[in-house]
Amino acid sequence: ERRVFSIVQRCISSSLLMSEVDSELLDVSIFGQLEELQDETQPDFVEEVITLYLETSEEKLNEMEAMLENKDLDELTKSAHSLKGSSANIGAVKVVKLCADLKTLSENEDYQGCKQCLEDTKEQFRLVKEHLQDIMKKNKEKRES
């Protein structure tokens, strides 16, 4: 009976989590899949992935800033590729697109283009980060209520 209750509770909290997703910022289908993967063996799976994404992405963006300063475009390409991959798992499709653009600009040694694109990427990530933090906060409130 307790097991049934916990399953039902998890289903309710999952659907509540999905209802918070802004489709302008996150692909609902991709993000929704993370929720589907969450289960009793990893009940905080979504939160773990989000937390990991936010931490590693901040690092990558800071790295890319430094690489651009040092005109180290090879390393910038690699970092953009890494952020692109992480963002794809979360469903942050606009960040994915900007990272792809950044990679191309970097490979073409378009320094000014990289600079602008990196600024755009940082801004888009900022919006995604706020939204993910909001989702986690609302999710936590609902689980505690």
């Binding site: 899949q33 992935v49 991959g85 992480s86 979360i90």
Partner: protein, 173 residues
């Protein structure tokens, strides 16, 4: 043949850094993927689908793992540091053709790629990859691809893996 023993600490030591899902299921998949979040997600997907999976971070580690541990299938990211998926797959095919991969004589390699352009598909095909999955992948599609390529006889690691029906070839450029 009986199913393989669960992965041991000795396996970890031999193959270097190996990220392992906690499931001890029948089929064993090797995932070569350098992005840690992608690894976390694909391992969870595989675990939920009922597969045992190990993850490595580049082609060099993939070759080291295949040298000593029998796998039923490899999911190979195309772009990785040290040695990318194309190089690693070409090397796997070469070693298989020379009989040098005793534990993975015919283990199929499936591309696990962020790209879906025709040129990329051709490059995967040229390297010897048998099929491709675009990431992020829906679990249902992942299951379908794995079902197509995993051996359907009782677990016989090291034996040729024949798909249950002839799959379509990779699209040509």
């Amino acid at each position: 043949l009986s199913p393989p023993p669960p992965p041991s600490a000795e396996d970890d030591r031999r193959t270097g850094k190996v990220n392992r899902s906690t499931s001890m299921k029948r089929w064993r998949i090797l995932v070569a993927e350098d992005n840690y979040i992608s690894q976390k997600v694909i391992l969870k997907q595989l675990n939920k689908l009922g597969y045992c999976a190990d993850a490595v971070q580049n082609g060099v580690e993939a070759l080291a793992a295949l040298d000593t541990i029998p796998y039923h299938l490899v999911l190979m990211d195309c772009q990785m540091p040290e040695m990318d998926g194309y190089q690693a797959t070409a090397e796997i095919i070469r070693r298989q053709s020379e009989g040098a991969l005793k534990h993975n004589t015919c283990t199929p390699v499936i591309a696990f790629t962020a790209h879906a352009f025709v040129d990329d598909m051709q490059r995967c095909k040229n390297a010897g990859m048998r099929d491709y999955i675009c990431k992020p992948v829906k679990s249902e599609h992942l299951r379908d691809i794995l079902t197509r390529w995993l051996p359907h006889q009782s677990c016989t690691l090291g034996q040729p893996s024949t798909p249950s029906s002839a799959p379509p070839p990779l699209p040509s450029a």
